[in-house]
């Protein structure tokens, strides 16, 4: 198993005057799957986007093995008050499975290890995979072209055969050479999973990965999660109570 640790300290994100979540601390070690639950609008997708680097945190910091991916200046925004009704984070209903691992609410001050943004940005690209229903694909390209294009952007050289094998693993065998805009919702979701895992990231962020998926697609996801437990960490955002079983711990975000 890859030894990796994902930590977030005092993490907060707001849009305008509204805090989506605030004062969130995470401490996840390799081999764990954290389910992020909550009602619509509770900030699940926002949290995953912040962790992936797509959105900057308004406050707090994120680091992977002590490399800071994103941090905001504590001077810009006032520190969160745990009694603030806008905090948006509810206590975790179940304790984390191991000491020092899982999620906890902590009032402790964040101590970000400041590093260059370029270093963090590079780590983010290489170490994080994200899938989300909001993530649009290149509809005019085929599934294999999408796969090879993303691989090239990530600095990997992928042959057509390797891409076809990845399509097979995602359950898209036979449709890899079709344009993505002819794919169904579930097929696009399978392709997103293939893209998110193509660089075998130690941290996999899954935002409602079963949306539109059939049973076969869910089996593909089971396999991906099994692999991810061996490879590193997964965060699985869902509001489906049947999917809580995927996680070793659960973080519930409140509206």
């Amino acid at each position: 198993m890859v030894s990796i640790r994902l930590q977030a300290s005092g993490l907060g994100r707001r849009f305008g005057a509204r805090w989506v979540f605030r004062q969130l601390d995470l401490n996840l070690a390799g081999g764990s799957v954290l389910v992020v639950s909550g009602a619509n609008g509770s900030g699940k997708s926002t949290l995953l986007k912040v962790l992936s680097g797509l959105l900057p945190a308004t406050e707090g910091s994120i680091d992977i093995d002590n490399v800071v991916l994103g941090s905001s200046s504590a001077d810009v925004w006032p520190s969160a008050d745990p009694k603030d009704p806008n905090t948006g984070i509810r206590p975790h209903p179940n304790p984390p499975p191991q000491a020092g691992e899982g999620v906890k609410e902590s009032p402790q001050a964040r101590e970000a290890v400041k590093e260059s943004p370029q270093a963090g940005e590079g780590v983010s690209r290489n170490m994080i995979g994200l899938t989300s229903p909001e993530l649009a694909l290149y509809g005019a390209l085929t599934g294999i072209e999408n796969y090879r294009f993303l691989a090239k952007l990530r600095g990997q050289s992928t042959t057509v055969t390797q891409a076809e094998e990845a399509m097979d693993r995602a359950g898209l065998g036979g449709r890899g050479h079709d344009r993505v805009d002819t794919y169904s919702t579930g097929m696009k979701q399978r392709l997103r999973l293939a893209l998110a895992t193509q660089h075998q990231p130690p941290i996999l962020l899954l935002d409602e990965p079963t949306a539109g998926m059939d049973d076969a697609g869910r089996k593909v996801l089971d396999g991906i999660l099994d692999d991810q437990r061996r490879r590193g960490i997964a965060l699985f955002a869902t509001n489906d109570t049947n999917e809580y079983r995927y996680g070793d711990a659960r973080l519930h975000l409140g509206v």
Binding site: S52, G53, L54, E121, R125, L130, Y138, G139, L150, L153
Partner: protein, 189 residues
Amino acid sequence: MTVVAMGLATANSALTPEGQAGLLWVALVFAGVTGLARGFVLEEEQGTADLLRLAARPSAALAGKMLFHGALLLASEVILIPLSLLFLGIHVEDWLIFCVGIINGSIGLAVCVTISGALVARAGSRGSLVGVLSLPVLVPMIAMAVSTTKAGLGAAAATIGWQGNVGMLGWTIAIGAAGFWLFDAIWKE
């Protein structure tokens, strides 16, 4: 179509080289700005920008879009320049200055349009901002390009043409360097 319309409109008029240089660059800038909608703006509108952000280094995304705009513009010019020479009755006096000026100006235009496109793509009201955000970076480039082309057409001294070329090169490097420096911030949010 722009060149044909301009050619038909001026069919019975004897255009000065200054006017020809100006009209030629109207057509080239039009071609360049039209490509703006196919760069970063299209990525944001299609929603594929996040996919790029997840996988590509910001500098690689910017360089790729610059190359795309440059290639698109140069491909357009393969048709546009001969048509302009034909329909606008342009007579080139100094082909070296003319060609270097066109290539130099096109590269500069591609760089300016790409960076303007990145700014426009991240702005809310895109349509109205195109002109406003593009103007400060494009106007100096266009002014130098026109003066270089005028020299190529014999309406200005050759030294002015070469000065224009050096100026365009310097402006392209300055805008390009600023673009790469600022792009991380523009690209992220």
